[in-house]
């Protein structure tokens, strides 16, 4: 018969094991001022997204210059790792500890705006608007909510890398990589056929940006619902299914992460992969053989527009030092500082006229410059295809339905209908 002590032990063990399932914070309703016209002073915090490791001297200098320009200010810089950035933001936002000035992308900005945590710059800093590219400024607006909620910071459009050696082996012209999705599908099927399914051309399933670049309408005109289940969307997914069946799309693509697909490209198991200019250095160090054969081309697009990633710097609406926070967010993103940041790393300024600088137009014979000039050129008519309201949960819903279609468990049409239904439901729940 069990003794009471054993039972007590069991209950205690049970409680310790099963209770800590979740924890939730509470929001702070204290509100700061929206008036940015006062004296620029006080202590503020500035949070960046995975920038300390490579750019510490740049930001230290930037902060020192700001503090010198505005005596009486002190900026505390914190940096968060790339992974889990949204979780960190949500924990801070829910706990009322969101920094005064925060580096965000539009999709991260949207929920913060809806929770009333981002300062409306159309009210607090409208005078700065002419300094930025019009598209970049409006890119920080959230559908259904008036106002602009972040200073546009850097823009990026990653190039597409391809392995010329693998192209050659498959009988494809290594100097003429695919530019449109139709060309990509033809080349990828040939690559899979010639390598007996051993070399895939792609390592990732199509994302919402792929649908955008294929020419699919992602949302309805009112911005109230998703629309990527139209005939064009079904056509794209059907083509990807053909690639998957022919092993032109890697079999592990259904569970791939950007890291795992990057590794596959590095080991020459896939022939094409999106990336950034930073990857070139990585190829040189880790895969010299690949580096010798590396080809660089634009993102695949059938619309003539590549996808543009937009970064912003928002001001916490509950900051106690609104003038200092607005001044610093503007300082980080003004033309001069964006230009000097662009010289540190392959990113592109969102300030008016900056892209016409010789730095973005003049060749010097190096690979890095080639990538930079090509990207700057394509940025001029690039589009941010990621819908601002497309949350992580929606990405998962789309990805799961795409996987079902590729595995043949659902038709492409049914899969996209289900994805749109799930995303619409999530959109409604977001309010």
């Amino acid at each position: 018969m069990p003794t009471p002590s054993r039972r007590t032990f069991a209950v205690a063990a049970l409680a310790a094991l099963v209770l800590p399932l979740s924890a939730c914070g509470s929001s702070d309703d204290g509100s700061g001022s929206t008036d940015a016209s006062g004296k620029v002073e006080g202590d503020i915090t500035f949070q960046t997204w995975n920038l300390r490791a490579n750019f510490k001297p740049y930001f230290d200098g930037l902060i020192a210059d700001f503090e010198k320009k505005y005596p009486g200010t002190h900026v505390k810089w914190i940096d968060q790792p790339a992974e889990g950035y949204a979780d960190k933001l949500s924990a801070d936002a829910a706990g009322g500890t969101l920094p005064d000035v925060v580096n965000v992308s539009p999709d991260l900005l949207a929920p913060l705006v809806k929770a009333g945590l981002a300062l409306d710059l159309d009210k607090a800093a409208a005078k700065y608007r002419p300094e930025y590219l019009d598209g970049a400024w409006t890119g920080q607006q959230i559908p259904g909510v008036g106002g602009t909620y972040a200073f546009p910071w850097y823009l990026n459009t990653g190039p597409m890398f391809y392995n010329k050696g693998l192209f050659k082996k498959a009988g494809l012209d290594p100097d003429s990589p695919p530019k449109t999705y139709d060309e990509l599908f033809t080349d990828a099927l040939q690559m899979a056929q010639k390598s007996n399914g051993k070399v895939a051309t792609l390592a990732n399933v199509p994302t919402v940006e792929d649908f955008g670049r294929y020419g699919v309408e992602l949302m309805n005109k009112q911005g109230t619902g998703f629309a990527f289940n139209d005939a064009k969307g079904v056509e794209l997914l059907t083509k990807y299914k053909e690639l998957y069946d022919a092993k032109a799309l890697d079999p592990q693509a259904l569970t791939a992460t950007p890291e795992s697909s990057g590794k596959m490209f590095l080991t020459e198991a896939v022939a094409m992969n999106p990336g950034s200019a930073l990857d070139l250095e990585n190829f040189k160090k880790q895969a010299p053989n690949l580096y010798k054969n590396i080809g660089i081309t634009d993102q695949i697009t059938s619309t003539g527009h590549v996808n543009m990633y937009v970064m912003g710097v928002m001001v916490n609406s509950r900051t106690k030092h609104t003038p200092a926070a607005v001044a610093f967010a503007h300082y980080v993103t003004d033309a001069q500082n964006q230009m000097s940041f662009a010289k540190q790393v392959a990113i592109f300024p969102s300030t008016a006229g900056s892209l016409d600088d010789p730095y973005f137009t003049k060749e010097d014979g190096t690979d890095e410059t080639r990538v930079r000039i090509a990207a700057a050129k394509s940025l001029k008519n690039a589009v941010n295809y990621t819908p601002v309201l497309f949350s992580d949960q929606m990405k998962t819903a789309l990805r799961n339905e795409v996987a079902k279609a590729l595995q043949g468990k659902e038709s492409p049409k049914a899969a996209l209908d289900n994805a749109v239904k799930a995303c619409d439901q999530l959109l409604q729940q977001q309010g």
Binding site: M1, P2, R6, R7, A10, A13, L14, A15, A16, L17, V18, L19, P20, L21, S22, A23, C24, S26, S27, A86, D87, L89, S90, A93, A94, L108, P111, L112, K114, A115, L117, D250, P251, Q252, L254, T255, A256, T257, S260, T267, A269, S391, D392, Q393, T396, R399, N400, E401, A403, K404, Q407, K409, L426, Q429, Q430, G431
Partner: protein, 297 residues
């Protein structure tokens, strides 16, 4: 003298036992009880990460019933218990019997078997992903011997099995130690008496060792079943953040993480799933204990 000192202290500080318990109570209250109560309350609201919710009654639980992903999570968590628990009850026992004898060099094997327990789950997960990759070591070996490549990381069932294998491999040493401690208390006379009666090694194992270790086996079954039902890390690392192809390898705790975190997390709905995990885990524990009691009586 000593007794009078104690009673004086007791008189002066009637709350002294509570004072000693305060640190533990505070930690338990803040990190266990408050989150638990908060989870229960949230389960009946439509709370989101940044938006305080309103009371919605049983709406979250009704939604669960129609959520395919919830049923997939429940299925996978249950399969995990069925696959992992028998292995973790039996294999560590056999391992403990192997390393029980004090022979020269046995400490090395004991340490070796225990090493996976102290290794970081992330490192272990990455190593296994590397081994089981389509072009990894295991597939290269299989190809060399003519079996051909196996999609350990692309097939939903193989992915789940691979994650189970990692859980078992990582847990062997831990439960082995528990068994070793219990084996040390099995009276040697019983074995000697059984041997005198002519019982062989297998017979002695079944009639002496197993009955003597029954309560330890129940403890291992209870601990491993609760841990298996709440599995997260192994599946997350091996099947990826998507939970395998089309999320088919998602477990309930992964679903809680995916649903309830991030800036647009549905905290209310995720809390409802957490509550289901809690209830099932308690039920699982009671089931194991009841089975034990029935056998005892």
């Amino acid at each position: 003298m000593a007794t009078s000192t104690v009673s004086r202290v007791r008189r002066q500080l009637p709350t002294s036992p509570w004072l000693f318990a305060v640190p533990g109570l505070v930690v338990t209250g803040v990190f266990i009880l408050y989150p638990f109560v908060s989870t229960v309350v949230n389960a009946f609201t439509d709370r989101r990460t940044l938006i305080p919710g309103e009371f919605v009654g049983l709406a979250n639980f009704r939604e669960l019933l129609h959520d395919d992903m919830f049923w997939i999570g429940l299925r996978n968590s249950a399969l995990y218990v069925l696959g992992v628990v028998p292995a973790l009850v039996l294999l560590p026992l056999l391992l403990a019997l192997l390393v029980q004898k004090n022979i020269p060099g046995i400490a090395f094997f004991r340490s070796a078997f225990y090493t996976p327990v102290v290794a970081s789950i992330v490192v272990v997960g990455l190593i296994w992903v590397w081994l089981l990759d389509e072009r990894g070591l295991v597939n290269s070996l299989l190809e060399t011997i003519g079996v051909g490549r196996v999609g350990f990381l692309s097939d939903q069932w193989l992915l789940l099995l691979s994650a189970m294998a990692v859980t078992v491999w990582k847990g062997l040493g831990y439960y082995m130690i528990i068994y070793l401690a219990a084996l040390a208390h099995v009276p040697r006379e019983l074995h000697e008496a059984a041997a005198v009666d002519g019982a062989g090694a297998v017979r002695r194992f079944l009639t002496v060792t197993v009955p003597a270790l029954r309560s330890t086996m129940v403890l291992v079954a209870a601990l491993s079943s609760v841990a298996a039902f709440k599995v997260f890390s192994e599946v997350y690392l091996i099947a990826g953040p998507t939970g395998g192809p089309a999320g088919e390898d998602t477990t309930l705790v992964m679903l809680v993480q995916r649903t309830g975190t991030g800036l647009t997390g549905r905290v209310g709905y995720a809390s409802a799933i957490s509550l289901v995990v809690f209830v099932v885990t308690v039920a699982l524990m009671l089931l194991v204990l009841r089975a034990d009691r029935r056998e005892e009586s």
